[in-house]
């Protein structure tokens, strides 16, 4: 059994928050799309991997931050285009066909990644040094703090966008009631496309944040996607706040379970993610922050 020290606990919580921020951003991407279109995008993780590969290629020609921003823009454009071309025609189709479409996209994008960049593992640069800094006798890694900063910063920006801009308001209106939004002059279709763009950019962000620690390869986001689903379900699939809180909680829980529960170790983390999904769906299907909706005939 490991000796329990406060400094170790603090380190584990902070690095849990860092991975939690990554799960939270991908979960938020899933929630953004689910809120407006009632579709769970199974291809979200593969889209994130693809854009991370784009960032990797760009970083051979420019320094980190310009490549980072350019990747977010490319991801945004790609997300909008994808919604317009592929998702638009099935807007009113049943759940099953949309799920299958997104699984088709998952396989397609995964194949494209390994076709273009090969399936060998690549190292991805980190924006932050891995050097530790000491705060009150506890050593934290700068990378963890940086990842927390970037993910929470992106979430805060997004919250401000939804709260204070006219487009943000329109997007919220479309998520709540597409029919009536259309009547007051909101261009519903473009708002949905915008949502896909933002989700793709968030996915790219999470991919670029997770790549330095898990290394870049075509299946990189598969397990992250499972954690993001768990986070989104935990927080409630239609609650953006819930996705972020769920992500951070899950990150910390996974890290603590991996460190202090000998049985879990590093291998059963995925099983813990699955257990979280099942437990939440059984006990409180709406999640922590979600609304309960009555079923209709």
């Amino acid at each position: 059994m490991l000796a329990f020290t406060f400094s170790q606990l603090a380190q584990q919580v902070v690095s849990g928050l860092a991975s939690g921020g990554i799960y939270g951003s991908l979960a938020l991407a899933i929630v953004l799309i689910y809120r407006s279109t009632r579709v769970v995008n199974f291809a979200q993780g593969e889209m994130a991997t693809f854009t991370t590969f784009i960032a990797w290629s760009l970083m051979h020609h420019m320094s980190y931050w310009p490549a980072f921003v350019l990747t977010l823009l490319i991801a945004f454009g790609g997300g909008v285009a994808l919604e317009r071309v592929v998702i638009r025609p099935v807007e009113r189709a049943p759940v099953l066909s949309v799920v299958i479409l997104s699984i088709g996209l998952l396989i397609l994008v995964n194949g494209l990644s390994s076709w273009i960049w090969g399936s060998d593992v690549k190292s991805f640069p980190s924006a932050f040094s891995t050097r530790p800094i000491r705060v009150g006798g506890v050593a934290f890694s700068i990378q963890d703090l940086g990842v927390i900063g970037v993910s929470l910063g992106a979430v805060a920006l997004l919250a401000l966008f939804f709260r204070f801009t006219k487009v943000g308001l329109a997007m919220r209106a479309v998520a709540l009631n597409p029919g009536e939004s259309e009547l007051v002059g909101v261009r519903v279709g473009w708002m949905l496309a915008l949502g896909w763009g933002l989700a793709a950019a968030l996915g790219a962000l999470s991919g670029m944040m997770v790549a330095p620690s898990v290394f870049l390869e075509p299946n990189m986001m598969l397990s992250v996607l499972l954690y993001a689903f768990a986070a989104a379900v935990l927080g409630g699939l239609d609650s953006p706040l819930g996705a972020v809180v769920g992500g951070l909680t899950l990150g910390v829980v996974l890290n603590l379970a991996g460190t202090y529960v000998g049985f879990v170790g590093s291998e059963l983390r995925l099983a813990v993610g699955l257990a979280v999904i099942l437990a939440v769906l059984l006990v409180r299907p709406a999640g922590l922050f979600g609304r309960t909706v009555a079923r209709k005939v």
């Binding site: 199974f42 479409l101 699984i103 088709g104 995964n110 499972l226 291998e267 059984l282």
Partner: protein, 328 residues
């Protein structure tokens, strides 16, 4: 056409098909009978998935994981307890069916998307659980079977079982049980108002389809004479669902096409892409089969609502009817 004539035509067709199927391994290469045997295994798994997804309307992205339970049952019984490997097949089916029933208990509370999410989690997490459970599974090393079978023998076993299971699936689908499944698929609320217990029947559907997956997994393990946590990756689960969709969900006969698609398209993908691509591409990459498969699925789902004419519609017509004529 009179009923009797139609029936005798059908019987004749089945007879011819059976004769062709029995003669096929002797007319083709040994390797092709290996592939055809594997196609039969996919067919069995897809038949089970079809009962769950096509007839009951429950999406499972985790059938590869259920196949792995059957696979490990066979491997453990055959290698550690000395049971002849073909006798483990029914046991593998029953055990996996029980696990499916157990999983169906939480699953019955999950509608549509949530079940898809949960089964996706199962597919992703199962290999890591199998790696961790070393006492039984030997971890990443995997378990080798000591038995050896010719490809003709495997072909015969697989297709005989596939034929039997096809008849079983057909009987289920045509029975009162099948009608109950369809009623649940079309409207759960309306079906329960008519006295159907959704929890019970959804769990049962899950159990039946897991039974099929378990048998497929056992056969897969016998064919490879080896099983490891990586034998049944998430890709396999996705391919099975795609096979069911391409075969036309809710139709039994189209499943043959779905199984053939899943078996043969990835193998010949690089040739197909090289033939249809106008550019000079390196089509030997590992990603090419996925690109082709994903593209076919996306195009199929997109093209069908617009009523794409010709072959595409004929191949997918059960799909169009099942997928697009219902309210969401």
């Amino acid at each position: 056409m009179s009923g009797r004539l139609a029936w005798s035509l059908r019987l004749a067709a089945v007879g011819v098909a059976a004769a062709v199927a029995a003669a096929l391994p002797f007319l083709t290469s040994d390797f092709l009978s290996f592939q055809l045997a594997r196609m039969g295994i996919f067919l069995i798994a897809i038949m089970g998935l079809n009962i769950l997804t096509g007839y009951t309307g429950q999406i499972s992205i985790g059938h590869g994981a259920f196949m792995s339970i059957g696979g490990y049952t066979t491997a453990v019984l055959a290698s550690q307890h000395g049971v002849a490997d073909y006798w483990t097949v029914p046991l593998a089916g029953l055990l996996t069916g029980l696990v499916g029933l157990a999983f169906g208990v939480p699953a019955l509370r999950l509608a549509g998307l949530y079940l898809a999410l949960a089964t996706f989690g199962v597919a992703v997490a199962t290999p890591s659980i199998e790696k961790r459970w070393e006492g039984l599974t030997k971890g990443s090393t995997g378990i080798s079977l000591l038995s050896f079978h010719s490809n003709h023998w495997l072909y015969g076993l697989t297709w005989a079982l596939a034929a039997g299971l096809f008849v079983l699936a057909w009987l289920i689908v045509r029975s009162r049980l099948g009608r109950t499944f369809k009623a649940l698929r079309d409207s759960e609320v309306a079906a329960s108002a008519m006295g159907v217990n959704p929890a019970f029947y959804k769990t049962l559907a899950f159990g039946i389809s897991a039974f099929y997956a378990g048998i497929a997994g056992a056969l897969y393990t016998i064919q490879n004479a080896y099983v490891s946590p990586d034998t049944f990756p998430i890709t396999l689960s996705l391919y099975l669902l795609i096979g069911a969709v391409i075969g036309g969900l809710g139709s039994m006969a189209g499943l043959l096409a779905g199984a053939a698609f899943v078996e043969f398209v990835p193998i010949h993908a690089s040739g197909i892409v090289a033939a249809i691509s106008p550019f000079d591409l390196n089509t030997k990459s590992a990603g090419v089969p996925s690109v082709l498969l994903g593209l076919v699925v996306v195009v199929l789902v997109l093209a069908l609502p617009d009523g794409a004419a010709g072959l595409l519609r004929r191949v997918g017509s059960p799909l169009t009817r099942r997928l697009y004529s219902r309210p969401p």
